[in-house]
Amino acid sequence: MSKPVVATASLAGCFGCHMSVLDIDDRILQLIDLVEFNKSPVDDIKTFTKTCDIGIIEGGCCNSENVENLKEFRKHCKILISLGECAIMGGLPAMRNGIPVKECMEEAYYNCPTIDKNDPKIMPNDDELPMILDRVYPLHEIVKIDYYLPGCPPRADLIWEALVALITGKELSLPYEVLKFD
């Protein structure tokens, strides 16, 4: 049997979850034996070159690009995993969800402390820029998600256990220490 193919992405996340993937220490070598990586910042493959077995996504959706990326992943991956609080519930970026977008944007581009008050006020609006969504969406509000691995970041052991369970078809054990929301 050929090795399962894995793709990963960071949407509205901080790459902390990816760091946690790397945090499995020397097991990373086993991982490379177990799976083959496709589109992922880990190997810098930018586009899908084949259908993947497992897609792992950190970060929620805060703009149109995130949404497109996410849908790409859903299309190319048989199994999709929400990795980390941001993916599962929006995480820290979602703290803006109670605040109108207008206020957020004005705060960011007009009023924030790092902006020189004497500069002309400019709201970036180039068509190349992603469009900002009205709020940050957890992934499962936009596409079907198969598994969830909470934590910020999820503990490396949790990621490892989950991947191994998924690949080998064994039942996932969840020791108390690995399941955390922070």
Binding site: V67, K102, P124, M131, I132, L133, V143, K144
Partner: protein
């Protein structure tokens, strides 16, 4: 405290921060507690509600009868949106839950005056009158039937009594019940109630004789009789008609209860929506006191002391729940209490209290006069006597029907002129929605129980819309105390909306059903324990309506709307929203 706040509200049009500070100081409680009470009830408001505050009923039947057009007319004529007050502070427009006028919808309450059968024309006249500074009472042109015309009521409300039975609407001679009861021992009265097998008419159907027995046997020198005239279940208005036409019988029934359990004080908890009846009822009480039917040594019997006070509510459905009612009567937020202890043990002011429905007390008065056996000869095995039904919705003759227990839904539909009914909501939102196949079933505790609300839905009524209206009602009327009801009903409503918007899957439907069970099982009081019923009973009886809305063959459907999600940010940045995929 409720009375104080009510006075402030009606005199100044709001309960301002300063007023809260003053009330708190005067009552020696914290400001947050006063604010908690003010913000709990519909008819109290921290912000000004206008010199004229219009409360338009937004219940399901009101919508069936054209509430939407009426609301629009009000907005157009008054020049402000619902939830707001006009710039000059003259008129405020608000929605409120069912006001007990389902047989004459659309209806609204303006400064305690009820306006029924509203049309766009009438709205124009009313708003013109308000702008001209006339008093709300003067805007009533025509008066309703029966006692609605009496000097102290002068209301346009109609009784719409279509069927009279032997218990409630048979002739009643003033003073007869207290006279009769004075010849009996309290034991004998309770015994007679037990023989009659009368069960509470407020919805729960608890045997009244047993309740009185428990209350009577509770320790302590002081006990209370409380009459539940909160009538908040959407679609019920039978207590309104009893209060209008048979107050004497009701009050004598309360005196009978007082005599039986050993209480010398009674409380009529009257919903704020029925404020227009207050003076009239006070007058009846006053007459009764003069005639020795209330007060000391009633009917000449030494030691038969009983008097009745009216406590006004302030707009909250949950206050119909007996322990919430007691909390409210004590001037607090209308949050149900934990039980045990039951009101029969620890009730109003901590004393043993029997809370009974308006109709129940009337039954008691009649039972004393005619005997328990006479009463028990009517009805079915477990449901004796007659029942007042408030029939509304898609039927030709909405109004009051006093039927013998055991009458089939079909018979009732024939009588009220609803032969094309597709669905019937029995017992209000918290009851059951049945379809044609069940029209042969009987109205009684053994089969289809109801506190009196019967809402008929014809072929033109969108049943899911009605379900949604009911769920919004529960979301709004939950007291907020416990998680499954406070959060659960909101969640159920969200999921229902997802399905109604065509964004549901079979999974959504299955989940919705299982979530309903969680809310029912985990909720603290009757409100949460029944609030999922609109969804549950329609999934049971009208599953095809849901099936038609869901996307077949999919186990996941997203509600995400790309265009809507990017709209605002694009507007802010002044750029053209691109469609998905660009």
């Amino acid at each position: 405290m409720l009375d104080v706040i009510r006075d402030v509200q009606s005199e100044t049009g709001s309960v301002s921060e300063e007023a809260i500070v003053q009330i708190a100081a005067a009552m020696n409680v914290s400001q947050v507690d006063v604010e908690g009470v003010v913000t709990f009830y519909h008819f109290f408001s921290k912000s000004p509600v206008g010199k004229y505050s219009v409360y338009l009923n937004n219940s399901a039947v009101s919508f069936m009868k054209g509430c939407a057009a009426i609301a629009k007319a009000f907005e157009q004529e008054a020049g402000c949106a619902f939830g707001k007050t006009t710039a000059d502070g003259n008129i405020g427009l608000f929605y409120t839950s069912c006001i007990g006028m389902n047989d004459q919808e659309p209806a609204a309450i303006i400064n305690d005056v009820v306006f029924t059968n509203l049309t766009v024309e009438k709205v124009k006249e009313i708003v013109a009158g308000m702008k001209a500074g006339k008093s709300a009472k003067d805007l009533v042109k025509q008066f309703g039937d029966g006692q609605n015309q009496s000097e102290l009521v002068k209301s346009m409300v109609n009784n719409n009594i279509h069927k009279k039975g032997l218990v409630l609407f048979a002739p009643f001679e003033a003073g007869s019940a207290v006279k009769k009861v004075a010849t009996m021992t309290p034991d004998a009265v309770v015994e007679e109630m037990k023989v009659s097998n009368v069960r509470g008419r407020g919805g729960a159907g608890f045997p009244t004789g047993m309740k009185w027995d428990f209350t009577r046997k509770s320790e302590g020198p002081k006990r209370y009789i409380v009459c539940n005239a909160d009538e908040g279940e959407p679609g019920t208005f039978k207590d309104r008609v009893i209060l209008t036409e048979m107050p004497q019988m009701l009050f004598e029934g309360m005196a009978v209860g007082g005599y039986a359990i050993g209480a010398d004080e009674g409380l009529l908890y009257l919903r704020a929506e029925y404020m227009y009846l207050k003076n009239y009822l006070e007058n009846v009480l006053e007459k009764m006191r003069k005639n020795n039917q209330l007060g000391k040594d009633i009917a000449g019997k030494k030691g038969f002391n009983f008097d009745i006070k009216i406590q006004m509510g302030a707009g909250a459905y949950v206050c119909g729940e007996e322990s919430a009612l007691i909390e409210s009567a004590e001037g607090k937020r209308g949050q149900p209490r934990n039980r045990p202890p039951f009101p029969a043990q620890v009730g109003f002011m901590g004393k043993p209290t029997s809370v009974n429905n308006v109709e129940t007390f009337c039954c008691a008065a009649r039972i004393v006069l005619e005997g328990g056996a006479w009463f028990a000869a009517m009805g079915t095995l477990q449901s004796k006597g007659t029942k007042l039904l408030s029939v509304s919705g898609d039927c030709k003759k909405p109004g009051i029907y006093e039927i013998e227990f055991g009458t089939t839904v079909k018979t009732l539909l024939e009588e009220c002129g609803a032969m094309d009914a597709v669905a019937v909501q029995i017992g209000g939102p918290s009851g059951t929605c049945i379809g044609k196949k069940d029209f042969g079933r009987r109205i009684c505790y053994d089969d289809l129980a109801t506190g009196g609300s019967i809402i008929v839905m014809g072929p033109k009524t969108d049943i899911l819309q009605v379900v949604h209206n009911f769920m919004e009602f529960f979301v709004e009327e939950s007291c907020g105390w416990c998680v499954p009801c406070r959060a659960g009903n909101k969640i159920l409503t969200e999921r229902l909306e997802k399905i109604m918007h065509g964004k549901g899957s079979a999974t959504d439907l299955t989940e919705l059903e299982s979530w309903c069970a969680i809310v029912k099982s985990m909720s603290r009081c009757g409100l949460g324990q029944t609030s999922p019923n609109p969804i549950l009973t329609t999934i049971q009886n009208f599953r095809e309506l849901y099936e038609a809305k869901i996307q077949k063959g999919k186990d996941y459907v997203s509600e995400f709307d790309f265009a809507a999600a990017v709209k605002e940010s694009c507007a802010v940045a002044n750029r053209k929203p691109l469609s998905e995929g660009h």
